[in-house]
Amino acid sequence: MAEFVYYVYCIAESTAVAQLPGDSLPAAIEDDAQLEWISVNTLAALVSCVPKTSYSEEPLEEHLTDATWTAIRAMRHETVVEYVAKRVTAIPLRFGTIYLERDGIEQMLAEKGRELELIIEQLRGREEWGVNVYSDRAMLLSSITSVSPVLRELVERAEKASPGQSYLMQKKIDTMRVDEARAAVNRIVDQIEEKLKEQSDDGLRLRILKVETTEHGELKAKFAFLVKRSGFEEFRDAAERLAKEHQAAGIRLELTGPWPVYNFVTGFTG
C-alpha cells in the first residue's frame, strides 16, 4: 500500500510547462508537499504527493465537512492553478481530484490526450471573467416611480385623495412598484447577458449559492464569460457602458478576474 496519493491541479502542454520557471512556484496544497509535472506525450499534469491518511476517500470526505480545512486547501488549489493559467494555457481540474497511483495519471493523459488537446486549443489566449449584478432596492424602487407614467399618475392622485382612498391607492402603488421593479431587474440582467455575450466567446449564468446583500445591494445575477485576452478592452468597455446606463436604477456591476477557466471546461465528461 502506497503511503501517498496524487492531488492533481491542472493540465497543460508539456512544451509550454517546460518553459515555466521552476523556482517561483507557489505553495502546494499541503505545507510539506511539492509541485511536480507528470508528462505524457504532449500533455502534462501538475500534481502533489499528499498523505493517504488525509486524501483517500474516507478521510477526505471527513475533512471536507470542516470548512476551514476546505477553504485553506481550495485557496491553495486556486493559487497554484492561477499561477499556471497566467503563464500558459491550462485546464483547471475540479478541487479534490485525486489519483491513487501515478500510473493512473499517466494513463489518463495518454487516453484522453486528444480531447484534452482540443480543450486547450479552444481555451488558448482566453480567460474567464466574472460579472456580478447587484441591485439597490431603494434606488430601484424610486427610479421605477419616476420612469413609469402609470405609477406617477397614481402617486399624484393618491396625494390629493381622501385618507381612506389614499390608503388603498398607496397599497396598489406599492404592489405595482415591486412588480415593475422585478420586471425591470430581469430586463436589465438579460440585456447585460446579451451584450456581454456579444463581446465574449461564451457566457454562462451561474447559480447564486447564497443570497448576498452587500453595500452594492442584493446580488441578482452572476455570470462567467470566456474572453480573449486581445478582446478584453472591448469587453470591459461594454461592461462599463452597461454599468453607466443602469447606474440610476440602482444597478451595480462588479467585474472579477481573470480566473482560470473553471466554468468553461465542464462539458468534458472524461
Partner: protein
Amino acid sequence: MSTFDQVIISEEFENTDVSLLETLDHVLNRGLVIAGEITISVADIDLIFLGLNVLVSSVETANEVLRKHEIE
C-alpha cells in the same frame, strides 16, 4: 495571493476586493471533472458552502491561516 489584486478598478465599477467567498465559489464547484474509478470527486460541496454561518466565521480563520502561510 494574486486573487486579491485582480479586481478591475474604474470609475463606473464599484471598487471591491474579490472576497474569499467569491474565490471559493469559483474553485469548489467547477473545473474539469475527469471521471474514473481512481478519481475521487468532491461531493456535497454546496452543503459545505451553504453550511449556515460556519463558513463565514471560518473564512476569517482561513484568511488568518493563509496570511500566516504567506509570511512563512
